[in-house]
Amino acid sequence: MKPLKSLLLAGAALLALPVLAQAAPPDNTVVVGLSAEPSTFDPAQISSRDNANIAKHIFATLFTVTYEGEVQPYLVDTTEVSDDGLAYTFGIKPDLTCDDGEPLTAEDVAYSFNRPADKSLAFTGNTPGFVYTTLGFKSAEVVDDLHVKINISARTTLALGMMSQVYIHCKDSYEKMTVEEAAANPIGSGSYKLASWDRGSQVVLEKVKDPGNFQTIIWRVIPEASTRTAELIAGNVDIITNVSPDQVGAIDSSGTATVSAVSGTRRIQIGFNMTDAMAGQPGAEEIKDPKVRFALQYAVDVPGICTQLLGMACDRATSLVNPPNGNPDLVPVPYDPDMAETLLDEAGYPRGEDGVRFKIKLQGPRGRYLNDANVIQAIGQYLTDVGVETEVELMEWASVYQPLLRTKEAGPLFFLGAGGVTWNPLYDMSLFATPEAATNYAGWTDERWFDDYKLALAAPTVEEARPVINRMLKLFYDEGPWLQLYFQPDFYGVSSRLDWTPRRDEEIELFNASLK
């Protein structure tokens, strides 16, 4: 009897396992399925979007960017800007606290700004890199307990937006930790604190203060897209990122989740590489002619690409600036291959006897952006159809394509997606801050643009810079270094039990998420 009883008990335990393993999240918990795992929680080292999405809930910031793209004070109470625009003095809210129980003072804020800039620590995160380069950060100093001064190298209307990217952390705790310890023990000032980090599997955050409707946030690492979809449909996960268009139907018809699509801020384009590195390559000379560049805009059916390959209708971009900050007078170039052919004829590149006007190579990454390989191949065919025989070359991103881009050797045509924002058009335009800018992969040198950029950047406000900005965007539209494509749509799978709206800028913000 005994063995039989044991067997029955074991059977019952096995039957109970599915319930244990597949229990839906409780009502006070929201679960997010991420495609990539966080590598660090050191605020000065964080660089990936998935990592930053978690960090945003642990570390508060001086300012925050709203869903609508406005930069609003968060920890800051008062802001004073010096006449020359090179010093910002912030009064921080009183009675703020750190996760270590200490009061959050100006000293912590100054430390949070100065620590990533410490060259001896050789940080490689987003703050010491991209943010400080764009901001022109010089130093931060304590004025008194509640006032801190941030010094920058040049006046810029981008300042507050860039400062909103700097995570405020707590000096006393960080001074006691090594860099290695800091990577695993974030001590922040945000709504949530790190409860556990099961490396490679999940990160659990527990709420310590408002805002936030859930007591617990679990960030599960699920690299494979179809597995994320299955977990969402099964009800084990509430939000998933990077849903591929072919899985939209399965999710929408599941009854347990829906797909929320949003036109993102990532600007997808074909760049015209006009640098000397392209000398001698077929098509390199031809694309230096602005008439050719404009003619090619007509050759590509962008709305068709969006509908057929990206699973979402879209408007063609008119410039490198995200809506609604673009020039309202510009109309998207329509798909008109006849017009493309006419303009190419007029530019002095008629079809030859073999039907080819000129040959060119189009390079691009595979698997970096939404359905990128198919989009690139479609564009190659569109260009070939108007007589520009295009050889498409697809490459692995990290080891092959990215180094080519960074050394400005991709091309003569290259496919790229550039992250953008909704809070300031000059941020989007700063890819072309100078002819030598690292992000000027096209090697564009039009002096009219770069002279105007200096003017626009020096204006006290974006509104005052608007006429200059519009003039620049018109120039970019007519003679710019991009074949304008689209703003990449982002697809999120959202559980039916959840009320949550995705942002355009790829940030996952859960403070306002709630149960329906």
Binding site: P18, T40, F130, R199, G200, R406, A438
Partner: protein, 324 residues
Amino acid sequence: MWTFIIRRLIQSLIVVLGVTLITFVALQMSGDPTYLYVSERATEAEIQQTRVALGFDRPLHEQYLKFLGNLAQGDFGNSLSYKRPALEAVLEALPATIELTLFSMIMAIGLAIPLGVFAALYRGTSVDGSIMTMGMLGQSIPSFWLGIMMIMFFGLQLRWFPISGHVPFIMPLIQGNVVQAFSQLPQALYYLIMPSVAVGFYSLSRNARLVRSSMLEVLGQDYVRTARSKGIPEWAVVIRHALRNAWLPVVTLIGLEFGFLLGGVVVVEMVFSWPGIGRLVFNAINQRDIPVVQASVVILALVFISLNLIVDLIYAKIDPRVKL
């Protein structure tokens, strides 16, 4: 035997050195990793500064020799992504992979032997046909596809198994939490089933075919006929006389099998969100995190070499014809 072991250990050292050299050269050939650790807006000066900080400015041979010097002291350097010792990151991920690989191997061998024996005993019947058809399928289906199909059917439709995730068993054991380890053993096994099938199905199929053909060969031998003529029961003839000799080729394969399964876990770990070394290496390669890749490769090579050594010793033990 000791001479054999010492000779093999010396050979192992050469293999590890070769592995590190090949990995190092392959990673260096795939571009300058510095660009992955600087902002896209970094100036040339900033890029150079990072290059110096990461040590990528030094000549390749110097970088490699420095790596070997540190390796001799057990130091693989700090992970470029995780900012902590690379070896620590690898050893943390290793138990999950060992769990998956061992379980897959146990399944691949444990099931292959009876299946192969049955197929041989019932040669030409529907039993044989079914097992061999399964064998063909197992060797034709890619593991990632099988994994996804199992997730869709057994995980999502039937809800029999968890879709993804991992419950650790070995790690709590290593940390001394024996009670915790064993209390979560049923759950750990439950999470292991689908990934293990995905990893081990190919090996299971191949081993079953191997045991079958080996059994067929042995069953026709004189000593098996003699055993039968002596009136020994058929089950004893099969298990004691035939199988004992028939499974020698399978034992030979076990060492190689482990290496093969380790290779297969990379994809399966991605599909099932299994936090093992395969996924770690995949991410590290994408990030050009050279210390983590090197540490992973060396640790895996050592595991592979050690296992093969053990298999050789066992082989000598069970086959008296083999002298070490």
